[in-house]
Amino acid sequence: MITIAISVFLGLLLLGVPVAFCIGAAGLAGLVWHGGFPLIVIIQQIHQSVDSFVLLAIPLFVFAGMLMETGGIAIRLVHLAQAFIGWIRGGLAMAVVVAEYIFSGISGSTIADVSAIGGTMIPPMTRAGYRPAQAVSIVAAASAMGILVPPCILMIVLGAIANVSVAALFVAGFLPAVVLALAIMVYIYFDARRSGIAPPQRMPIADIAEAFKRAIIPLGLPAIIFGGILGGVVTPTEAAALAVLYAFVVGVFVYREIKWQDLPAIMIRSSVVTAAVCFLLAVAAVIAWMLAVAQVPQAILASMQAVSAGPISFLILSAILFILLGAVLEGLPAVVILVPTFLPVVKQMNIDLIHYSIVVTAATGIGLFLPPIGVGLFVSCGIAGVSIDKASREMLPYIWMLMFGLLIVIMFPWLTLVLPRLFHL
């Protein structure tokens, strides 16, 4: 059953069939071949995986992100970040990293971050003396880190399939994101020194206050989301609805960057993104169920025990696997099929599910930008008009730094677990 399903999946995937339909056809082929299960199982698994209150946060965060996705917000956040760290050598690039940290606290989608931050920041960076490929790599590396800053679609999906509190996952992402951001910034500093980029002028206090004032409205969104979740006032799904309301009021009435007649197009785009993500999630449940029925999780556990791999090596192996699959498949399908299969192993090894989910999220984020095939890297190169070849070479050191950061996160579960425990999530 499994062999048939895997061959159908790989064959169709290579022929360019969208992943969700490769998975669906593979599940169907496997069940028909086996013949022992009623095919209605497919529909039951699909229904069970989508009919969930937790997943409702996905359309809402996507919608809120698209409402806030205007260029104005990215620039305001970079100005704010520059006000704080702009005077260090390489400060502009570091400001991009810090701004991306805040921006992904608004948008929830990594590819959207790349276009917003890359589109607004790559031109000023090249004017300040950064090589175009270097600027692309910095934006790409920052966006890879940004996946760990909530809200994050992948965390919602992980919460649903691993049955972990999404609120806990959101909060758990903050510190690991800081670790990855610091890892990138250390390299930026040395790279800026080597390529002779002059440290920018210190900003006068008045300008800092002005930058802060201009960023207050965008900062309101993460403030509402996390204030609401951490205060125990709302669930992540309800926080997402509040985010939509806030983004709507800001976009339509305060900034007036969104006209009423733009709304249908924005809502259709949000629906299509939601449907693509959740349809994939739904059909992947069928394969995950088949793998469970075929006792694949037990086989993996046995083989891990055979090589007497401990929790750390299992986490490292998982990270490498999800970085590679994240590069090839954009991560999500790999997560929905493999995470349920790995869960018994994770539990058996006494790895905290929150810690595991954060490691998987970070690995998937890095994979999105892995040269030379990561989708995110393609998008960033497209924005700057830099060839993927040139960017790949400049990107590699950043990938190493990100992986180093991830290794630190793996070694010290405290980094992921301290905040959720502090807030009793």
């Binding site: 969208p18 056809a25 529909i43 229904h47 209150f53 259709i268 629906s271 449907a275 994939l280 090839v328």
Partner: protein, 157 residues
């Protein structure tokens, strides 16, 4: 004929818009009722979930038309031209086969669900299950259009 097609395209898009708006407003009402009215509307969770199922399956059909489903196109681009025409047919054919299963067995579950209802407001489960065969039917329709559309080999990106 063309008019009927445009009408269907537009009405599906507007269905998604309305469902998304209902989900957002419904959840806001849920929060509002809990904190302001101090009497939580009991129905808001089930209504939102039912709308979400429909949004996902109608939206998936719209995504087939707008090519919103993720896939790997790198290798297909490398296929030499005469074969490429044939390779490009595989995507709609796969979609039709799988959506056939969604319609066939989704319909069974829908019939089965007529005797079940949701816990709080007692909505028949078949109203929710019906989103799956409906979505399957619409996906099959757009996949058929994809199968017969005239294409130049570059268009599929």
């Amino acid at each position: 004929m063309r008019l009927a097609k445009t009408l269907l395209d537009k009405s599906l898009e507007w269905t998604c818009i309305v469902l998304l708006a209902v989900i957002a407003v419904d959840l806001l009402l849920g929060v509002f009722s809990r904190y302001v009215l101090a009497r939580t509307f009991v129905w808001y969770d089930e209504v939102a979930r039912a709308c979400f199922m429909w949004l996902v399956f109608i939206g998936s059909a719209v995504a087939v038309r707008l090519r919103g489903h993720f896939g790997l196109n790198v290798l297909v681009e490398l296929v030499p031209d005469p074969f490429k025409q044939a390779v490009l047919l595989i995507t709609p054919l796969t979609m039709i086969v799988f959506s056939g299963a969604l319609v066939r067995f989704g319909w069974d579950l829908t019939i089965h669900g007529a005797s079940q209802s949701t816990a709080v407001i007692g909505m028949p489960m078949s109203w929710i299950y019906a989103s799956i065969p409906t979505g399957g039917l619409l996906i099959a329709y757009y996949a058929l259009l994809l199968l017969f559309e005239k294409r130049d080999t570059k268009a599929h990106a």
